[in-house]
Symmetry: C2
């Protein structure tokens, strides 16, 4: 299982409180536990995390630097609202970049990473038709499959860029997916994943890119159809 957290937080012997706050906040964001538009008070987070404001401030500023949070002119940090325009922009870039990562994964794959990808795919497929209360698990497994593929591209730079993108769309993607478990039952995601795995195994770069692109595009289309985006 691949973690989507930055390598530094994994490697540091003693993660600072700032790192820990960053990890916890990232988790809340990427799993859609904090809704877009919601205001986060540094003081409240500090009391929740049982640390002082300082580490939380560092975590917030790091997340704001990558666009995962927004600091309004002089009032609390907020989870950025996702309007249709911004959502389409990010989706367009995601298709290009994550598609490239999938193609690189197909080009550079080896036995070990391929095994990890296949395991992640199987785990996700098992949850097809899952009960609503298992959606959180499905969200996590979907994420793990995607990042297993992206890790196979063996490019720290690319991986970090994709992680940043997911941090931005996570709130929308997962919030909506949890409220609409029926999308998973249609098997669109599972089908794309299986196609991608086969393509990576065969070293078919174009097919791998297409499969991931279709997965992203169909999920995005579903989200847009829900009409929950602002403006």
């Amino acid at each position: 299982m691949k973690s989507i957290l930055p390598s530094e937080t994994r490697l540091l012997p003693q993660p600072t409180l700032g790192d820990q706050a960053y990890v916890r906040l990232s988790g809340l964001l990427i799993s859609g536990r904090i809704a877009p538009g919601e205001r986060l008070s540094i003081r409240d987070l500090a009391t929740t995390f049982e640390v002082s404001m300082t580490p939380v401030r560092e975590a917030v500023s790091r997340l704001a630097a990558t666009g995962a949070l927004e600091v309004t002119r002089n009032r609390a940090a907020t989870v950025p609202l996702m309007n249709v325009q911004r959502f389409r922009d990010i989706t367009r870039v995601r298709i290009q970049i994550e598609g490239f990562a999938a193609a690189e994964a197909a080009r550079l794959r080896d036995a070990a990473t391929l095994a990890e990808i296949e395991a992640a795919e199987r785990a996700f497929r098992k949850l097809q038709g899952a009960r609503p209360h298992e959606m959180a698990k499905a969200v996590q497994l979907n994420q793990e499959f995607h990042f297993a593929v992206y890790a196979a591209a063996t490019s720290p730079t690319l991986f970090e860029i994709i992680r940043t993108l997911w941090l931005q769309v996570g709130p929308i993607l997962n919030l909506d997916l949890r409220e609409n478990p029926e999308r998973l039952e249609q098997g669109e995601a599972v089908g794309c994943h299986q196609t991608a795995v086969a393509a990576i195994k065969n070293g078919d770069t174009d097919c791998a890119r297409e499969a991931i692109a279709r997965d992203i595009a169909s999920a995005a289309a579903f989200i847009e159809g829900q009409g929950k985006l602002s403006e």
Copy 2:
């Protein structure tokens, strides 16, 4: 002229001291004024910028979050050393992403942005064969040309990703370019730029992508040839 600074710093009525410190530090990094491996003391920067440690800490943590700085285990922040492996990784990703941005610029161009791009190209071309002491200006104009193109892709997401990449590769690129003004005289960069401008004007997406990719690749090859990368 397009600024490569994040939009928030431009829009904020009263940029905070943290923002100002971020801008100043970014400038030092992207212009190659701070050499890779160099250690930055938060306290020293604070006295230099005539502020307290707090805003500098925020700036450093923001830059560290995007990989432009590195925080060692428990000692001063450093400009990340650029070894060959990392340099090639970033270059591979840059060719893909900045190439895509150039293609999008060719697809979506309009009269106003095209005029900006052409102006930036002319300004850079004028400095061909510049004297060594003008290299700083050449570095800046090259940067402005590239970001004029990337701005024409009209994708804030893409623009921010590219800005982050430049922040990482800037120290090496510009440090080396300033010490080797002869590369500019060969006209490789100018040629690529002119090809790119023509392609964008004609709406030839593939040609625009190729031109930018060649520009990046040839500059990277030159840097690697200098043998100044670590390890």
